[in-house]
Structures are given as C-alpha cells and as structure tokens.
Amino acid sequence: MIRYLLKQMLGLVPLLFLVSAAAFFLIRLLPVDPATAYLNSINAPVTEESLQLVKEELGLEDPVPVQYVKWLGQVLQGDLGNSYQTKRPVTEELKTDLKYTGILALAALVWVLALSTVFGILSAERANSFWDRLIRGFTFVGAAIPKFWLGFLLVYLFSLKWGVLPVQGATSLSCLVLPSFTLACSYIATYTKLLRNSILEMKNQPFVTYARIRGFTRRQAVWRHVIPNALLPVLTALGLHIGGMLSGAVIVENVFSWPGLGRMCVSAVAARNYPMIQGYILLMAVIFVAANLISDMACAALNPRIRLGGNK
C-alpha cells in the first residue's frame, strides 16, 4: 500500500517541478522586463535609477538559474513575494482565498456524491422507467449547460424571481447553495451516467449471480455486491476530474462574486499582478497533486487488488 502510494507520488514530482519552473519563467518571458513591469504595476515612474533599484531588490542581476534556485528556496519557506495590488504577502492573500474556494469545492463535492449516487442507483435499478428517463434527460442537459449560464439562470430564478436565496457574496450558508450546485451540476450529470452504466454492467457479473444462487435476495445482492463494486470506477473518475473542478471553480466564483482563488486570479491577470499569478499557479499544482494522491489512496483502500499490489 505504502509502496504503491510512493510510486504514485514519484510520478507527480516532475509535474510540480515543471509547474514551478513555468511559474518562475513566466515573468522572465514577458514582453517587458520584470523590473519595468513591477514599476508599472505600482505606478512608479520608470527611470534608470528606479530600474536599477528594483533590479537589485528583486535580485534580477544574478544569472537566471541562480535566480530560480533562490526563488525556489524562498517559495519553500513560504515566501512568494508581495501582491502588487495590495502590497500584502502573497501567501497571506492566498490563505484567505483558499479557505473560500475550499468551502465551495467541498460543498460541491457533497452535492456530487449525494445526488449522483441517488440518481445513479435509482436510474439503474428502475431502468427504462419514468424516473430513469427523467434522470437520463437531466444527465444530457446537465452536462451541456455552461456553468456561467446555469449560475445566472439560478440567480435569476431563486434570487430575483422568488427571492429565496441571496444573489451573491459569502456571508452565510445560504449563500453557498447556488454556487456549489452550479459547480457540481455537470459532475452530477457525468457521475450519474457513469454510475448507471457501471451498475448495469456489474449486475451481469457472475459474482452477483452467484450471490443469488447462494440464497441472497435481489436487494441483498444489489447492496452488497453490485453497488460497492460499481462505485469504484466512479471514485477513480473523481480523481481525474479534480483538475476540471478547479477550473470550473474559477468561473463559478466569478459568477457569484465568491471571494475565492478563482476570482482573485482573474483580477490578478487583469492587473498583471505577477506574484499573485505565480502563487496561484503553484498553489493549484500543489492542490492538484494532493487531491490526486487522496483519490489514489481512496481507490487503494477500497480495492484490495491495488492495496495488496497484486498483478493489475
């Protein structure tokens, strides 16, 4: 088990390295040199002296590889520089934003897990019934609705027309309902479909028939053998969709003015706030790697074949 996880982790290290290099060279590749960019961003006059000063301050005189190593050392100590916009340390800013994005993502995950299992099981167990058709219709529409449009549609209906939920902001739990559902919607559709197919496939497995042969009722066979096995591919897929969810959060946060990482990064791009962009990119890579590891761990815990390192 531990060896398996170590192996998985080893595969992701090059990614972290690549992303950190990309984040670093980002500033070196700019059409303007970093010192000028910095001066522009703080609205300081660009003069010979000020440029020299900034270059020294930012350590831009060293050769590039040396700069990278120095920068990496700082990053590892949690120093990502200061935001051009607020002058506060990037790590501080990221911390607050991360909290909100985390809440949003977790709430979305709850939606996804709850609804897609219920829908998937209902749909497969009552295959071709009215409910199955309804749910399958939803999976088609749910996967095709762009998040930003769905978000506004929900705001229009629930906030403006019926006034039951707040339009935006992040002050109470009710503010969380619409954004998290918006983020979750397409994944609910995807996993419902996946789980439905997976259950129908599992039902034909010999071990399910054999459970019936041993005298277990249909219901027992479904709950003990069909559903637990059908959930495995869904959990694996969840790991694959972490990246998509992080991207999706950016859009949802912008729709609902949710004060998370996504909204921050778009405003940082607009303001050419490079330290913040760098920080965001690095943080995303770390979250991505961590989330992948967690999903690998979950799969290993549930699948004895992986856990015991059997031949795949």
Binding site: A23, F148, I242
Partner: protein, 263 residues
C-alpha cells in the same frame, strides 16, 4: 425520423451562424443608445442589448466565432494528438513511454492554470486561449490513437504490409489511420462540445475574445449587470446548451453505431 430531426436542427443553426455575414440583419457592433433594451420586434427579432445592439445579429456572429474557434482547437488538437499517438504506438520504446507518462500526468491537470500561464505571457486574447487549450486537449486523442495503433499493429494485414517492405509512413497512413479513424469520430464530436464550453467560459472570464466583438460566453457576461433584461443572457446561453447537447448526442450515436458494427 425524430432523431434525424434532432440532428438537422443543430446543423441548421451551425449553417446560419456560418452565414452570419450574409444573414445577420444588423451590424453586430453597431450601438444605438436610443433603442437600448428593445423588446423582441420585427426589426430586432431578439431585441437589443444595453448598448442598443441587435441581439439576433450578435448571436449569429457570436456563434460563428465560438463554434469556429472551438472547431479550430478541436481539429488542431485531434490532428496533433492523433499523429503523436500513432507515432508513439508505432515506434514504442522510450518515446512511447515518455509520451504516455507525460500525458498521464497532464491528463487531468487544470486547464485554467495553463491558460493563465499563456495569457500572462502573451496577453489576453483568443489566440492565447486557443494555444493553452491545445496544450492539454491533444492528450485524449494521443492516448486513444496510441492504444488503437497498438491493437492494430498485431493484425496480420499490417504484418504482411511490413514484410512486403512498405514504408512506415505508408503503413501508418494506409492501414492504421484508416482503421482507427471511425473509432476517433465519437471522441471528436464529444470533444468539440467540451471545447465550445471551454472557449465560451474563458471569454466569459474576459480572457478570450475581446469586446466589442460578439461571442456567446462574452454576451452572457455582458448581460450579468442587466438581469432585469434576461433576453441578453437567454439566447446565447440557449444556443450553447443546444449545440453542446446536439454534439453529445451525435457522439453517443456514433459510439453506439460503432459498437453495433463491432459486434
């Protein structure tokens, strides 16, 4: 019959969007402050937006851009991914394992991060967005083409062709490409829907197509401050949903057909 109809309708929408320069009744960027938020009428079929621009014309022009760029990205990533995948499957060895390992890692990497990197370097614009999308979208094609190529390689026809001294390029083109093409079509169709959603999403965030040019995602963003006039958001949104559902259905049908043919 019903199913055919369901494929005909989106095809019609695509066609009229393509013909936007001819069919659009108004200049999509021409603002007229005197007719802001006009209701649906004979002259402005879907009304006008907050600057008094004709929504119908903007939907057509916007569709042309959104779908055009989505098609471009899909085509480019399909060509690149398929070629790389076929080569990888054909040569095997170190090259193959490097490509597969790389795609394994990048497969689920958040696209937004790459977009941010490219946009930061090259500046905001549809070119940057397309480039960044290309960087991740080739992966599915590469993986699929590679696995299909591997499977094809074992076939006797390929072996015979190799023995008879055909050049590797000819084998790839004549035998492998021909036989894996039908397998790739459903993926192409589904991926186009994904690309369309992504492009309109990035434009919505203001990273892609820049104003005043119309684009579906951006039109929805324009409408967010005027929610009391839902028409601004409704039409482009419906178009996106409609097109994406259609291509997803098409993809599913192609896949079903393929399965029937296989069995």
């Amino acid at each position: 019959m019903k199913r055919k109809f369901f494929l005909l309708l989106p095809a019609l929408l695509v066609l009229i969007c393509l013909l936007a320069p001819v069919l659009a009744p108004w200049d999509p960027n021409k603002a007229d402050p005197t007719i802001k938020f006009a209701k649906m009428s004979a002259s402005h079929w879907l009304g006008t937006d907050y600057l008094g621009r004709d929504i119908f014309s903007r939907v057509l022009w916007g569709g042309r851009r959104t779908m055009g760029y989505a098609a471009l990205v899909t085509a480019a990533s399909a060509v690149f991914g398929t070629c790389l995948g076929m080569l990888s499957g054909f040569t095997g060895g170190v090259f193959d394992s490097v490509v597969m390992k790389g795609s394994d890692i990048l497969r689920s990497f958040p696209g937004i991060v790459l977009v941010l990197i490219v946009v930061s370097v090259r500046g905001v614009g549809i070119g940057s967005v397309c480039l960044a999308m290309l960087l991740v979208r080739w992966i599915w094609y590469a993986r699929m083409a590679r696995n299909l190529t591997r499977a094809e390689m074992g076939r006797t026809a390929i072996l015979a062709s190799r023995l008879s001294g055909s050049s590797w390029l000819k084998i790839l083109r004549r035998h492998i490409f021909i036989s894996i093409l039908p397998e790739m079509l459903p993926v192409l169709s589904l991926d186009f829907g994904g690309a369309l959603l992504a492009i309109s999403g990035y434009s919505f965030l203001g990273l892609g197509i820049l104003p005043p040019d119309a684009e579906w995602g951006m039109m929805i963003n324009d409408g967010r401050n005027y929610m009391e006039h839902p028409g601004m958001m409704l039409w482009p949104g419906l178009c996106v949903v409609f097109i994406v559902i259609s291509v997803n259905l098409l993809g599913d049908r192609l896949r079903d057909k393929l399965e029937v043919r296989r069995s």
